[in-house]
Symmetry: C2
Subunit: 330 residues, 2 copies
């Protein structure tokens, strides 16, 4: 079973057993399992969004590739990216941390320093948490945010004809990961950019809120598992297919891929953890939105393709399959 299949089985189970007699009427829980974040309605005018992620040392990060502080930053950033993907403003986080008894307290505090630095950068509070003994370090973060009801975006609102665009060139995080594994001849500027993208990614929270305010944005998702997987997810949830025409590769990813004799596009398509956003935009509004985006963020909103009626995702005339990493494929 793949991760998506296990999630689907769990979602069915949770719906059948808990929603029947639920005090949260379907209109109160706006968005449940299956999107980047869940959304509920604490009061008539408000929507709250919540997302949770677990990172395990040795699986999602290693001490060879990054310091505890970087691991903390990255864990927090991954969660904030999920809130960005529904257009929410992050408010607070809770952190559950499991670690082996023998772990030096200083390592735990280092990790928290990274969590707290990212929280401070995005102006959220770490409001609570839990400590547990565990075989390996495991960080489970939950973030809560707020979003006006009219601004909520999901991955499922895309329509045939929508332009698909990404918030920046992709592949840098994968390039950074490669650099932690081997020596490569690279300008220090590109190497720094790649390592920064890998160790200290910047979730696109402001960008997510920018898209959330636009009626011409039909769907939004963060690119956590590579463009190929996340285009498939957005298109599938929107009951569309898609054509991918351009795969924007960051300069750092291009340089690292070249040094390894690989294609830069594969870093962007399958690298994952870039935490950029993928947006589906009404075609007539794309140009205007892109110019406002460039003015606001000083970066180009990059067209990568479009949604279409026919199911499946196509690139260069052939199917583009999900290719991001799956924890549970077997």
């Amino acid at each position: 079973m793949t991760e998506d299949e296990i999630v689907a089985a769990i979602a069915t189970l949770c719906r059948s057993s808990s929603f029947g007699t639920n005090r949260i009427a379907p209109n109160k829980l706006i968005l449940g399992i299956g999107d980047d974040a869940a959304i509920w309605q604490p009061s008539r005018s408000h929507r709250s969004a919540i997302s949770t992620d677990m990172l395990v040392e040795g699986v999602d990060f290693t001490s060879e590739a990054m310091s505890p502080e970087d691991a903390g930053w990255r864990a927090m950033a991954a969660n904030l990216s999920d809130l960005a993907a529904v257009g929410a403003r992050p408010v607070l986080a809770t952190v559950a941390l499991g670690f082996p008894q023998a772990t030096a307290v200083e390592k735990i505090l280092e990790l928290y320093r990274g969590l707290a630095a990212c929280a401070a950068e995005y102006r959220i509070a770490i409001a609570g948490g839990d400590l547990s003994s565990a075989g390996a370090i495991a960080i489970a973060i939950t973030v809560v945010g707020e979003v006006r009801s009219s601004n909520v975006k999901t991955r499922s609102g895309g329509r045939p004809g929508d332009v698909l665009a990404v918030t920046a060139p992709l592949g840098s995080a994968r390039a950074g990961l490669e650099l932690t594994r081997r020596e490569l001849h690279l300008s220090s500027e590109l190497a720094d950019a790649a390592l920064q993208a890998f160790r200290r990614p910047s979730p696109r929270v402001a960008e997510g809120r920018f898209f959330a305010t636009s009626r011409n944005v039909d769907a939004l998702i963060d690119i956590s598992d590579g463009l190929a997987t996340d285009v498939n997810r957005l298109a599938g949830a929107s009951e569309c297919g898609a054509v991918v025409e351009d795969v924007p590769v960051s300069a750092a990813a291009a340089a690292v891929a070249a040094a390894l004799g690989e294609e830069g596009a594969s870093f962007a398509l399958a690298g994952g953890e870039d935490f950029e956003l993928l947006v589906a935009i009404r075609p007539r509004a794309f140009k205007y939105l892109a110019s406002r985006y460039a003015a606001r963020f000083g970066r180009e909103l990059i067209r990568v393709g479009s949604l279409r009626d026919e199911p499946g995702v196509i690139r260069n005339g052939t199917p583009l399959e999900r290719s991001g990493w799956d924890h549970f494929e077997r």
Copy 2:
């Protein structure tokens, strides 16, 4: 360092780095690290409460002692108990689950069945989650609830003279744990009660909300680590001391303790995981509140002692130290 000391170091670190430039003004984050749940203010009239817990197989539960379904129920119940302790009505939960790749999918779904059954019993939705590969099964649950601002209770509001009371006799969960470890001659009724308390605990959500509406309740905490530890926590947070006069032991705990040649009181004081509530009540209101409690819940609100000016917790003239289990004492 003990768990409480590590938590204190983390709280200091989070405050110094994130609260300085925080968009969550202190008045928006009502209650942060250090209580059972954190509380924030999504809108002027509303308070939301959030709590998170991590349970690890082999540490917090074992497959010998309980089924995956029971482990799921218990993990959810522990979190709901934290919301009960601030007087909140639970709304939803998220679940992050780490498990070894070799885990049978059926075991994961069993675990979720327990989570979902407890969620349904308390009428909350499982709104989202994450799956991760991990060395052992680790469940991190976050629950969110709502509470009227005037009803928020904390562990720190107690005053000298307040009556300390608990929502039911204690020690059953520990008795149940003992029964999973060895054969004991016991009536099936008592054995069932003990095993039920251990495997399918009932967090006191309705009771928490009942206390939350009373102005005569000064402080509230759930008894997750045994009465001794949690009286110390409530008294310490309230800057009081306490005298413990009575330690109510459940019939199941008394029977199991007797069969083992141990004192029933030690199950209640140090057993932990009973998930009853400990309440500090204005002395003149105790009798009235206890009669309303008995009428509403069909159980006695049991006086265990009182808060006093002098620091420290005393029982039978000698200090009563924290004795609950600590993950990190070293």
